[in-house]
């Protein structure tokens, strides 16, 4: 048991390590220049040069991403209930949301900055705007594919549509809601970073932009990898929460 658990954490790190070594070797052997793809060693060196600066900017990005995610999660869950409640609402609102989501949020950030100023607001908002849809879709699907038999069971003793949703559809959708948070998490990070690229002078997005504009690719990669690692860790924590909260749904040990 214990060794199994350890294995779960070590395994992806091992995969990562192997990937890193392969990457370094390929670059050394084939002599690919830094600006096409920097080797892990150069990226590590970039980490080493600015540990505090990167940490500070990561913290900025992390904060706005997590706040955006939290709002997105709350919003999606709340919105999915009325959407599940009424097919008419769903039919009129859902395609609009889908359409809205096809608009590249990067194009909207300058507008958001105009409306909400240059503070944290546009970053949190962008994170939220990108993250909420991938949380909403699976949650809503799980709600509206509820088995008819369960529905009838609750109706039989006089439960209203709303109560059925709250008591059955929502908990039934929980495994999907929680697993979609992984997706929402990555989206929120992307959102924060994009917003930082377009309207901010802090956060990893800013660092990426300013380093790429100087063609300092290793530093840009260091930021990207920092983002990936952070998300990876938060995602691991999320998985633990998932197994705790909705373990009942994962009874098959595939």
């Amino acid at each position: 048991m214990a060794s199994g658990k350890k294995f779960k954490v070590i395994n992806p790190l091992l995969t990562l390590l192997l990937l890193g070594i392969a990457w370094e070797l390929v670059i050394r052997v084939s002599n690919i220049p830094n600006y096409v793809l920097p080797p892990p060693s150069a990226i590590l060196a970039a980490f080493g040069s600015y540990p505090w600066y990167l940490t500070y900017n990561l913290a900025e990005t992390l904060t706005s991403a997590l706040i955006g995610l939290a709002i997105a999660a709350a919003f999606s869950l709340t919105l999915s209930i009325p959407l599940a409640y009424s097919e008419a609402v769903r039919e009129s609102v859902y395609p609009l949301i889908t359409g809205f989501n096809a608009i590249p949020r990067a194009a909207l950030v300058p507008l958001l900055a105009l409306w909400f100023g240059l503070g944290a607001a546009p970053r949190v908002l962008t994170a939220f705007l990108i993250a909420f849809f991938p949380i909403l879709v699976p949650t809503l699907t799980a709600m509206i594919t509820m088995e008819k038999e369960l529905w009838e069971m609750l109706q039989s003793f006089g439960a209203s549509k709303g109560q059925i949703l709250i008591k059955v559809a929502v908990p039934r959708a929980m495994p999907y809601f929680l697993s979609s948070l992984h997706m929402g998490l990555t989206s929120a990070f992307v959102g924060s970073v994009i917003a930082e690229m377009v309207a901010s002078d802090r956060g990893l997005g800013y660092v990426i932009l300013s380093s790429t504009s100087r063609l300092d690719t290793p530093l840009a990669f260091a930021c990207l990898i920092l983002l990936a690692l952070t998300t990876f860790l938060i995602s691991k924590v999320l998985s633990l929460v998932e197994r705790r909260v909705v373990g009942w749904a994962y009874r098959v040990n595939i």
């Binding site: 600066y53 300058p110 105009l114 300013s210 100087r214």
Partner: protein
Amino acid sequence: GWYLKPLPPSTPTIHVKFTLDWAYQGPQAPFLVALYKGFFAEEGLSVTIDRGYGSARAVSDVASGLFDIGFGDFNSLVEFKSKNPDAKVKMVAVIHVKSPLSVVTLKDSGITTPKDLEGRRLGAPAGDAARRVFPAYANAVGIKQERITWVTMDVALREVMLARGDVDAVTGFYYTCVLNLLSLNISENNIVVFRYDEYLPLVGNGILVNEDFLKKNPEAVKKFLKAVVRGFKYVIQNPDEAIDILMQRDPTLNKAVERKRLLMALEIINVKGITDRYGFGYVDPSIIEKDIEAIASAFGLSRKPSLGEVVDFNYLPPLEQRLP
């Protein structure tokens, strides 16, 4: 007695939101120097400086009131005013008295004169100012535009694509292009620069002001310009200290590269024959008229804004304060 000396006027400090044209780099140092050395504070201004996202976007950001003052491109201002006559933005000082716009290529490509660009592939981002003004340049030089093939790409790709030979030349600010090429280990004497200002009377960036702000705080604008001019003069004297101040904002910068970038940028700010005659911030209106003319025809503008619509030099400090 000395104690009767009048107190400094107790005008409340005025807050100014200022945007740069681009990220924190060498050429942006004078503004940071003015802030960190207290030049703004001495004028009773409390200034916040934000990075910019392109010298064209600074125009609309100041016009919309997102910022009170900004550092942005004059040519973009002309286009903006032409399309939005009611827009509340004006230039009160021209800093780049020459334009940094250029075509940059490598000796290896065999291009030695602008005419050689014919039949070649030029790379640039879609909205790049140098690309957009290129028709005027081509006209002035006598290049047949139809014979140029444009390749659209992101800024981040521009110099790399040139270095790899995917394109034969690129357009952009000469100092950005040259420094990026250097960082790709291209040797300096392999780089060829054709600056537009050799053929075209163009200016570059200047200080943009939101007109509502200007109406409300004319004195503040004057004070702001005074402090900015001090900043530039200080930077010319103490480039190393300026870079140190810059590094406080972004410690990941490369000191030597940014110093070089600053010095290259100063070439179009502190120009022999212009700046030592008119001082910082001022350009002969006849040159500006010609600039407007060139832009209007290159961009195909339906309406040519008048000189008074786009510039107003009345807020500049007196000449003696502005001389280098």
